[in-house]
Structures are given as C-alpha cells and as structure tokens.
C-alpha cells in the first residue's frame, strides 16, 4: 500500500515538474517585442507609387546604400527624427547613398501634408496594404533600416534613438571599411 502511494506521489511530482519546466522554457516575451529576423536577409522588394506620383523600385538602387524609413504623419517620433533625415539626404545628394520612406498606417493625403510641412524630397511610398512593413518585420513607427549595396538588410533602428545623420554615416563608413 505504501509502495502504491509512493508511486502515485512520484507520478504527480513528475507531472508537476514537467509543467514547471515547460512554463520556465516557454517564451514569456509578450509585449513590445522587436523583431530583428530581417537582419542579414535579402531586402524584400519595395515597389510602388510615391506621394509625388512617381514609381519607385528598390531594385533600381542596387549597388547603393539605401536607408529605408517607415513613417506616419501621426507619429511623434517620425516628426522628431525627420530633420535628421533631411540633413542626411542633403549630405548625400549624388554619392550612392539613398533614402526612401514608406508610409505606415496612414493616408496618402496626410503623408503628403507631412512632407510639405517638414520638408524632404526623397521618395515616399504610398503603401496602403501594410505588406512592405510586414515584409520588413516592422512593429511600430518610426523604424529605419539600412540596406547594403549587395541588397541585404544590415541594420535596424527602432524608434528615433540613434537615427541621426552622423550615426548613419558613421555606420556606413564602418561597414564600408569592413569593420
């Protein structure tokens, strides 16, 4: 009788132990998680009309460094970092470094108004399906990515932190130098 009780208690203990291990091993990251799955991958295609009515394709930029900025007119962080992006494009008017913006959760009219108000003459894609943002694993705006001349995603900035003309230039210089 004592043996049976011991076996039953042992079984219960094993089940509880397995459940504890499962809970401990489970992914508890449930909030505000940031995805870096895209890093090192071939940059997903970015193609479509811009707010100026032109057609844009990332393929045309192959061989250049490309900074991809996901933005929205309602996004405070996007307004904060915008002057830095303006500064960045003024530094790189003709030297193989490009900037493209992709609209996220916004309307074409509001996005156009955003650029009219804050300046900037880089292509800004009208993206109403969210497909490009999802392809790049965007969680919230602003998010900014750097694509190498070979077409791979090499860096990702979440939010406004670190998104300055100086920082982006320093990173490109570092990567060009192989460091």
């Amino acid at each position: 009788m004592k043996n049976r009780s011991a076996i039953a208690a042992g079984l219960v203990a094993v089940v509880i132990a397995v459940l504890i291990v499962l809970l401990a091993a489970s992914d508890t990251q449930q909030t505000g998680s940031v995805s870096y799955e895209i890093l090192g991958e071939v940059a997903p295609q970015i193609t479509g009309p811009t707010i100026d009515g032109d057609q844009y394709s990332l393929l045309d930029e192959r061989g250049d460094w490309v900074v991809v900025n996901f933005f929205a007119s309602w996004c405070v962080g996007c307004r904060v970092e915008h002057p830095e992006l303006v500064e960045f494009t003024e530094r790189h008017e003709d030297d193989g470094v490009q900037l493209v913006a992709v609209m996220f959760g916004d309307t074409e009219t509001d996005a156009r108004e955003f650029f009219n108000e804050l300046g900037g003459d880089w292509p800004a894609l009208v993206e109403e399906t969210g497909r490009i943002a999802i392809d790049y694993g965007v969680t919230a705006v602003p998010e900014t990515l750097l694509i190498s001349p070979s077409g791979r995603v090499v860096y990702k900035w979440i939010g406004t932190r670190g998104v300055t003309a100086d920082n982006i230039d320093a990173l490109i210089a570092q990567l060009e130098g192989g460091g």
Partner: protein, 161 residues
C-alpha cells in the same frame, strides 16, 4: 449465478462502449475542421492566433494599434490571393519570430504542452478506477464469511444453548 455473470459482462461491455465512444468523439473532434469557412471567418480565426507585436498579450484580432490593423489587412489580402493558413502563419513567423503565433507549437518539446494534460488525465482516471476496484474487492471480502467467522458463530451458539 448465470445472472451475476451476465451482469458482470454487461458492466464491462458498457465501460468498453463508453471508452470507444469517448475515443471516437476525440478523434472526430480533433480531425474535423468544421467544414468550409468563408474568407471572413478564416481571417478572423487566423487573426486570433497571431499575436499583436506591439501589444501585451493581445491578438491582432483584438488590438486596434496600427500594426494589428496592417496585419489584419494583410491576412485578408493573402487569403484572397489563395495562400493557405499555414503559409500565412509562416510569413509572420519568418518576419517576427515564432513568438508571433499564440498557439503553442504541436511538435517538438513544446508539443508536451498538449500531451501532458491528456496523459495526466489518463493517469488520474486510471488511478480512480484502481481505487474503486480496490475498495470493491475489500467490500466483497467483508461480505464473505471466513472459516474463522463460522467457527466463532458456532462457538457462540453452543455457549448460548
């Protein structure tokens, strides 16, 4: 005696029948996909299994933040483009990692989340059945007089007479 045997057989048969019906119901329930769904139903069902990347414990079906709205719209488009549920889920896993899916994986180590409760329930049922059986054997043994009981009764009767 024959009646007792018939009753015992019938009792066993009823248990076997219950077990068969239970297993059959589980198999049918697990295998059935509820029939063909409309695109809207598929979208809602898929959205409820994808975690909102920006939220705390909410699916994209429940949340109204921008990325949740974008993903819901993207699911709708992918369904209309003919992608299967698994293909659509895989897109988000590739872009946001496995934690984007709210349902635990049914394979590998995580699969134990599904298996352990079933095994635990089976063990508990078996333990209860064994306990009932033991109590019944003990009760039966109490109903049957032993040789010692008979001798004791005979002795008491002799004393009284």
């Amino acid at each position: 005696m024959a009646l007792h045997g018939f009753k015992a057989q019938w009792r066993w048969l009823s248990w076997v029948l219950i077990a068969i019906i239970g297993v059959a119901a589980l198999i049918v329930g697990a295998a059935s996909d509820g029939g063909p769904q409309s695109d809207g139903e598929r979208m809602s069902q898929l959205a409820s299994t994808i975690r909102c990347p920006q939220c705390r414990g909410q699916s994209v079906a429940e949340s109204n933040v921008a990325i949740a709205r974008e993903i819901r719209g993207d699911i709708r488009v992918r369904i209309s483009e003919g992608e299967t549920d698994d293909e659509i889920r895989q897109v988000y896993i590739d872009r946001y990692g496995r934690s984007i899916v709210l349902n635990p994986d049914s394979g590998g180590f995580t699969g134990l989340v599904w298996i352990v409760p079933v095994v635990a329930a089976g063990l508990a049922t078996a333990a209860v059945a064994l306990a009932f059986r033991r109590w019944r054997v003990q009760a039966d043994s109490l109903r049957t007089a032993t040789e010692e009981d008979r001798e004791l009764v005979a002795e008491l009767r002799r004393d009284r007479s």
